[in-house]
Symmetry: C2
Subunit: 330 residues, 2 copies
C-alpha cells in the first residue's frame, strides 16, 4: 500500500509555492499563467510524479470523459469490428469506452432505482445493431444523454447506417451477371423495426433480380449457423432449386454452405452462395459477400457522438457505402 498514496494537487502546489488553483490552471489553461510560474509548477509536478485523479477531475467537471457502447456482441461478432475502429480513436482522445453487451445489459433494477445501469456515468452512448426501445429512448432523452444509433433505426437520435438497399442491389447484380435468374434469399428472423433494415436489403435485391426477369424465393432462419443449415432446406429441397442463394449475413451463408454439402451439391457449380458483412466467417468459408465498412462505422459514430456532446443538437444520418467482395462461392 505504501506506493499507493497518490500525489495530490495540494502537494504540488505546496512544492511550487503557489495555490492549488494555479496548479489546476497550469494543467488546464496554461496561457493564464505566467511562464515562470508555469515552469515551476510543471517541475514540481514532474518531480512528485503527479497524476491528476480522474475520479476527482470528472467529478468536478461534471463530465465523465467516458462513453458507453452497447451492442449484441455475443450474438453478432461483427460488432467487435466496429468497436475496434472506435477504440483506436477513443484512446487518442483519452476517452474511456465502457462496453455493454446487449444481452447482459438487461436492467439490473433494484427496487429503488428503476433505471438503466448506465445512467450518470457516461458522457454519451453509442447503441449498435438493435433498435432502441421507445421507453429507453425516452429515458435517455430525459437524462439528456447524447446518443447515436449505429446500424439501427431511431426516430430520436443521430444514426450511422449502411446503404442496405444498395448492398442488396450489388449482390443481386453480381448474381444476375453470372446468369442466375432463379435465386433464393435467406432472411434472418428478427424483431421490431430492425426488420426494416433487412427489408431494405431484400428490396434492393429483389428489385435487381426482378428487373432482369428473375425470381426471388425467400426463406427465414434464426441467427445461427445451425438454424440456417436447417432453414436452407426450404430453398434447396424443392423441384426447381434456385441456382444461387443469398443470405442476410455471413453466418447464415455458412449454414447454407453446409446444407449444400449435406445434399452433395457443389458450390458454386450446383448452387452459388453469397453472404453479407465480410466478417471472419466469410474469410474462413471463402465466401463471396458484401463488405460493410465496420471500422469506419465505429469511428464515424464516435465522431457524431462527440459533436453532440459538444452541444450540437442537430440530428444527422450518415450512410456508409458497401462493396462487393468476390470469392469462391459464386
Amino acid at each position: 500500500m505504501a506506493a499507493g498514496d497518490r500525489v495530490t494537487i495540494y502537494e504540488v502546489a505546496e512544492r511550487a509555492r503557489v495555490s492549488i488553483s494555479t496548479v489546476s490552471n497550469v494543467l488546464n489553461k496554461p496561457d493564464r499563467v505566467s511562464p515562470a510560474t508555469r515552469a515551476r509548477v510543471l517541475a514540481a509536478a514532474d518531480e512528485l510524479g503527479f497524476v491528476p485523479k480522474m475520479q476527482a477531475v470528472s467529478f468536478a467537471r461534471r463530465a465523465a470523459g467516458r462513453i458507453g457502447v452497447m451492442a449484441p456482441f455475443t450474438s453478432y461478432s461483427s460488432y467487435l469490428r466496429r468497436l475496434s475502429g472506435l477504440l483506436a480513436t477513443a484512446a487518442q482522445l483519452e476517452i474511456d469506452v465502457v462496453v455493454f453487451d446487449h444481452e447482459s445489459a438487461a436492467l439490473a433494477s433494484s427496487p429503488v432505482l428503476a433505471s438503466m445501469p448506465i445512467h450518470g456515468r457516461l458522457d454519451g452512448l453509442i447503441v449498435m445493431g438493435l433498435p432502441i426501445e421507445d421507453a429507453i429512448a425516452e429515458r435517455l432523452r430525459e437524462r439528456n444523454l447524447p446518443t447515436v444509433a449505429v446500424d439501427a433505426d431511431s426516430a430520436l437520435f443521430s444514426r450511422v447506417v449502411i446503404d442496405d438497399s444498395n448492398g442488396g442491389s450489388l449482390a443481386a447484380a453480381h448474381l444476375r451477371d453470372r446468369g442466375h435468374r432463379r435465386v433464393g434469399y435467406l432472411l434472418e428472423r428478427q424483431v421490431s423495426d430492425y426488420e426494416s433494415q433487412a427489408i431494405r436489403r431484400l428490396s434492393g435485391f429483389e428489385q435487381v433480380i426482378g428487373a432482369a426477369g428473375g425470381d426471388v424465393r425467400v426463406a427465414t432462419s434464426d441467427n445461427s449457423v445451425g438454424a440456417a443449415r436447417q432453414a436452407a432446406a426450404a430453398l434447396l429441397d424443392v423441384a426447381d432449386r434456385p441456382s444461387a442463394v443469398m443470405a442476410h449475413h455471413d453466418a447464415l451463408a455458412v449454414g447454407v454452405l453446409l446444407a449444400a454439402r449435406d445434399r452433395g451439391l457443389r458450390v458454386p457449380d450446383d448452387v452459388a452462395v453469397m453472404g453479407f458483412d465480410d466478417g471472419e466467417a466469410a474469410t474462413a468459408a471463402d465466401l463471396t459477400t458484401v463488405r460493410q465498412p465496420f471500422e469506419e462505422s465505429g469511428n464515424t459514430a464516435l465522431g457524431v457522438l462527440l459533436g453532440h456532446i459538444d452541444g450540437s443538437d442537430l440530428r444527422s444520418t450518415t450512410v456508409l457505402d458497401v462493396r462487393l467482395v468476390e470469392r469462391s462461392t459464386t
Copy 2:
C-alpha cells in the same frame, strides 16, 4: 437541459425528512436503518426517480467500480469471446468494464504526466493474450493496481491459462488414432515469452506423435489467413507431403485449408487439417479443432481479479481444460 437536472441525495433527504446520511445508509447499509424510515426513504427516492451519481459515489468511496480489460481484440477475434463471458458477470455485479485494444493502448504520454492512460481510474486490470512488459508490470505493481493475466505468462500476477500441452496432445492423439504419422505443424511467429505458450502446445503435440513413431514437421507463419496460406507451402510442396497439418489456431488452419485447395488437394482425404480455439472461423470452415473455454476464462479472470481487489495477495494460476471438437476436416 431542463430535464437534465439530476435528483440528488439532498432532495430525497428533504422529502423523506431525514438527513442525507440516512439516505446514504438506506442505500448502502439498509439494516442500520429502522424499517419505517427505510420505507419512507425508499418511497421518496422512487417518487423523485433518484439515481445515485456514480461519479460521486466512487469518488467518495475512493474506488472506481470499474475494471479494465486490455487485449489484442483487433488481431485475434477470440478475445471478444472471453470478454462476453466477463461482461455478463460484470453487469450483474454492477461493475463497469473499460476496454483497451492492445494496439491502441499505446501511452498517450503528456510531457508532464508520464503515466499509462489507465492509471487512477480503475480498480483492477485484466490483461489478455499478450505478455506484460516488465516496465509496465512494474508500474502496475507500484500503483498497486490489481492485475491478472489471461492466456499469458507473468511472473508477477495471477494467471488464467489453458492447458496448452494437453491441447497439443489431444490434437495429436486424434490424428494418431486416424493413422497419421507424418504430420505438419504450422506455428505462429510470435514475440517474447508468449512463445512459451505456443511451444508448450507444440511439445504436447510432438510428444504424442513421437511416441507413436511419427514425425512432426514445423513451419512458421504470421498471424493472418493470407500469411498462413503462403506459409503452408513449406509443408505441402514437398515430396513426402504430410497427411495431416495442425495449425496453432483456427485462422491459420483456414489458411492451410485454402492452400490445400489451391493445390487441388482434397480435405481430409489427401490432407487432414486441424485448428485450435474453436472460434467462428472453425464453424465456418467446418474445421476439426480444439476448443478453449473462452467465456469461462473471462469469467474466471474476473473472479480472481475481484479476489485481489478485495485484498487477497495470493498469486494464483488457474488452468482451464480444453477439449476436442471433431468436424469434417480430419
